[in-house]
């Protein structure tokens, strides 16, 4: 598991590699602090994510709620289809804006606003 | 160049020899010549157009109209020049008439 934070001009981009589950969620949570602590919109790049467990989905929702409370926006990029399926069937999907890849994600953020 | 019209009768064959330019103006006189020729109920109406340099659509309509009025008559063009053949094609009339050369075809 690894987390990389890139500061793009419209938002902070968080690139996660590995699974997001009960084991990794706390570390990921910590690693995200620089981005979450800020004031800008956040893009989470899932290109390197193969599996998201219940705990992982919960982490994402918590992040979403935090940003929402600060009227900041969260976009998930490059999420694999089977993960999208799971998120859809467990009702997590509607909370998130999803983009095909990082650049699309940044584009959506710059468009609407 | 004015049009000269020369009619003759040979057995069941009426021949009208034309020379010059068959334009809209001269079409009316050709119409009369054709009417006369057909009055004798010939089996063939032969139009010798070897020396006709130009044949207007009006001239052609005279012939087509004649054929329509007397379906039994066979119509032949003798030695049409290229532009005339072309007109016959464009007007879809070629497959309704016979075209003959020197041999009398």
């Amino acid at each position: 598991m690894s987390v990389e934070i890139v500061v793009a001009d419209t938002a902070d981009v968080v690139r996660i590699t590995g699974s997001i589950d009960a084991k990794t969620a706390p570390e990921i949570g910590l690693a995200l602090q620089p981005a979450l602590g800020g004031t800008r919109d956040v893009v989470v790049d899932f290109a390197g994510v193969g599996y998201v467990s219940s705990a992982g989905l919960r982490l994402l929702l918590v992040i979403y709620r935090k940003l929402q409370a600060e009227s900041r926006r969260l976009v998930l990029a490059a999420v694999k289809d089977d993960i999208i399926q799971v998120m859809s069937h467990t009702g997590f999907l509607p909370f998130f804006t999803v983009a095909a890849n990082e650049s699309d994600a940044l584009a959506t953020l710059s468009e609407s606003r | 160049m004015p049009l000269t019209i020369e009619s003759s009768q040979a057995g069941d064959r009426a021949v009208i020899r034309l020379a010059g330019t068959l334009d809209a103006a001269s079409a009316e006189s050709v119409r009369q010549a054709v009417d006369v020729a057909l009055a004798a109920q010939p089996a063939w109406l032969e139009l010798d157009v070897e020396h006709v340099d130009f044949m207007s659509s009006a001239g052609l309509r005279v012939v087509i109209f004649a054929k329509q009025k007397q379906p039994s008559v066979k119509i032949a063009f003798r030695k049409p020049q290229a532009p005339i053949l072309d007109t016959l094609k464009k007007t879809g009339f070629l497959d309704a008439v016979y075209v003959i050369g020197d041999d009398g075809g």
Binding site: A22, S53, S54, A55, Q85, H89, T90, G91, F92 | -
Partner: protein, 705 residues
């Protein structure tokens, strides 16, 4: 840093750190950085907690719970720093094995937690299990958080419900369903727009508590068809949703998937009622497997004969000992859990009469369980619906101990409706009571007590009811011996499918007649999935074991039988539009003091009704109670002609003097067999001829303009 003083371990074993746990709540719950396990057993001598890595054949560790951790009959332990998503757990109990005294402890077995909120082992529907595994149904730790976004149970008034009974798998398993996750909660969620279109506002799900579809599974000797426990009336864990019903069950996310379904149903105004089976468990009789209860406290959880055998009032081997205080508490905890955690709107209790038997099986005058459910603070707005009979011969339709709360599946509505629809002589009087909401049965409770149905999952489908005289259950592999022989069905002249247009037209008309009878009767109508477009089971009236097209909804019927669908939809919309047919009060059949009765039964000549047994024609005028104080409202003239010839009815003018309009006439072809009030054609004459075996409903009132 964590400031809780109980957040540190006192004990250590094989690298697992733990301390004395909390006795309540029962089951496994996440507390800070640990997981608390609590389990009851009154006769065990020792208990150990067994932890597995997901799916592993052998345990990760087995922690003997120190004697000092036991308080009363409850063993509780908190284990710290567990990777909760990656482990399964169970218990091993030591204790006497003396079957004749009802004691069946077995140290060689690992048993599941009765309070397990997630169970693994059957994560994907019909995926062949590893039979060598000695711990088949495993408990798992769950997340209990969910973002409800302000949802809560809808609390529709009972009398406003139109219920729709469905089987999670059967509803969308068929390829024609066109959903992305066939046969799952997610699949049903994709069909919510369809339910909206149909107009139902409540779904009743066949059992969704974890069960084993492989229980007693076999292959049909002739067809080779897999036969198993498809319906699921055999519970493994009362707190765990069926993993195989969740497309995400293989990831252990069934809780979120089901809660999402509930949230979306509610968002669309549709309540969700669960069919719950507390009368027995999947452990069967003494020959059955030891899964949980038997190995934890056999004589507490089951009704036993004096010499330790299992009472079998359920017809399924054992009988859950519901009126034992401990078991009663489990049932109450369970229902509270589903109502509070899943926002479930109500429960239908399978063979509920068993819940009114004492520990020796004798019917109780005042069954504590039923009473405590009726007065429970969390369940106070939940629908409680009893299947008011059991397999032990107790039949309590109309007499079920209700405490003013309980509704009943009205089996008598089903029986008399079926008899009347096939023109059986002598049914006219009873059907008159049924259309009023069965005051003869529920006089003290009101029509909302009566859940009216003509078909249910158990028995013929509506289409088969008018296509078969006999059951055809050979596909069940029991020589056509299973299933009821008393179906009150009529094949209309040919057994099964036919090309005869007259017979097919009659069958369609009878189905429409049935829909009117069901949806225009006082009480709570219940349809079964697929009946709205003529689903067939080819004459099979007991498809409990079929996970195939026999039991699934074939959605192509929605096209081929669009006519019946459109008609049903019309009737449901009319019920919603016309409060007069879903009154919370029984209509008053007596006039007097210058006011008119709410309902008047009439003869074809407009005079008094003919109640003689030979008569198969029922006509009545039904009006809103507002007429009692002289305020005009809706008034209906309903004419049931179950006679094989057309019937002439003399019409008397409506009370408000306005003309009659035709709302329903099942003699008419599709599109003009039912109207919404604003389109209803005005009646031209002072009499009406109802076609052979048809139903006509006329309306008058302000709603028309």
């Amino acid at each position: 840093m964590d400031v809780r003083i109980d957040s540190y371990a006192t004990h250590d074993f094989a690298g697992y750190r733990f301390r004395q746990g909390k006795a309540l709540p029962f089951g496994a719950s996440v507390v800070g950085n640990g997981v608390n396990f609590s389990v009851f057993s009154s006769r065990a001598t020792a208990c150990s907690l067994v932890l597995f890595e997901n799916g592993a054949p052998l345990p990760l560790v087995e922690i003997d719970i120190p004697p000092e951790f036991r308080i009363g009959d409850v063993y509780a332990i908190t284990v710290f720093d567990l990777p909760i998503e990656d482990i399964e757990y169970g218990f091993r109990f030591d204790g006497p094995s003396d079957p004749h005294r009802g004691l069946r402890y077995d140290r060689t077995r690992i048993v599941a937690d009765p309070y397990a909120r997630v169970m693994s082992g059957r994560d994907t529907w019909r995926e062949e299990p590893d039979w060598t595994n000695n711990y088949q149904h495993r408990s798992r730790v769950s997340f209990d958080d969910f973002d409800w976004e302000g949802d809560r149970p809808l609390e529709h008034h009972m009398s406003d419900l139109v219920m729709y009974e469905l089987h999670i798998r059967g509803f969308t398993a068929h390829p024609s369903s066109g959903v992305s996750a066939p046969g799952t909660f997610a699949g049903l969620r994709e069909k919510i727009p369809y339910l909206k279109r149909l107009g139902v506002n409540c779904v009743e799900l066949l059992p969704v508590f974890e069960f084993d579809e492989w229980e007693n599974s076999r292959t049909h000797p002739d067809t080779g068809e897999w036969l198993g426990n498809y319906w699921g009336y055999s519970t493994l864990g009362f707190f765990a949703p069926k993993a195989g019903y969740a497309s995400t069950g293989r990831f252990g996310m069934q809780i979120d998937e089901l809660k999402t379904l509930v949230k979306d149903l509610h968002a669309n105004g549709i309540e969700i009622i669960l069919d719950v089976v507390f009368n027995h468990t999947a452990e069967g009789d003494h020959r059955g497997p030891t899964i949980s209860f038997r190995g934890i406290d056999n004589s507490t959880y089951y009704m036993l004969t004096p010499d330790g055998w299992y009472y079998n009032f359920s017809g399924c081997g054992n009988t859950f000992n519901c009126n034992h205080p401990v078991v009663r508490a489990l049932v109450v905890d369970c229902l509270r859990y589903w109502a509070a955690e899943y926002h479930i709107d109500g429960f239908r209790f399978d063979l509920a009469s068993i819940l009114g038997r004492d520990q020796n099986g004798a019917p109780l005058a005042n069954p504590p369980l039923l009473e405590s459910l009726a007065y429970d603070p969390i369940l106070s707005k939940c629908k409680l619906i009893a299947e008011a009979w059991d397999a032990g011969g107790l039949y309590q339709v109309g007499s079920f101990p209700a405490y003013g709360r309980w509704a009943e599946w009205n089996g008598k509505f089903r029986d008399s409706a079926r008899s009347y629809l096939r023109s059986k002589p002598g049914t006219i009087g009873e059907i008159a009571s049924r259309v009023q909401g069965s005051p003869d049965l529920y006089s003290s409770r009101g029509p909302s007590t009566s859940v009216n149905f003509i078909t249910a999952h158990d028995g013929f489908t509506l289409a088969d009811l008018f296509a078969y005289n006999e059951k055809h259950n050979d596909a069940n592999g029991e020589g056509n011996r299973d299933g009821s022989d008393d179906n009150e069905s009529w094949n209309c002249g040919a057994e099964g499918p036919t090309d005869d247009p007259a017979i097919n037209a009659l069958r369609l008309r009878l189905a429409k007649n049935a829909m009117v009878l069901l949806l225009f009767s006082q009480g709570v109508p219940m349809l079964v999935m697929g009946d709205e477009f003529g689903r067939t089971q080819h004459g099979n009236n007991n498809v409990y074991c079929h996970d195939n097209e026999l039991a699934w909804v074939d959605w192509t019927y929605a096209e081929t039988n669009a006519e019946l669908f459109a008609f049903t939809r019309h009737c449901i919309a009319l019920r919603a539009a016309l409060p007069v047919v879903r009154s919370p009060h029984f209509p008053n059949a007596l006039g007097g003091e210058g006011r008119d009765a709410d309902i008047t039964f009439l003869g074809t000549d407009g005079g008094a009704a003919e109640w003689a047994g030979w008569n198969s024609v029922l006509a009545y005028r039904l009006r809103e109670r507002s007429y009692r104080d002289g305020t005009p409202g809706d008034e209906l003239m309903v004419m049931f002609n179950m006679h094989w010839e057309e019937q002439y009815f003399r019409l008397t003018p409506p009370l408000d003097g306005s003309p009659w309009h035709v709302l329903i006439n099942t003699t008419m072809p599709s599109g003009t067999d039912a109207f919404q009030p604003l389109d209803a054609p005005q009646v031209t004459g002072s009499s009406f001829i109802a076609g052979p075996r048809s139903v006509v409903v006329l309306i008058s009132g302000s709603r028309l303009h």
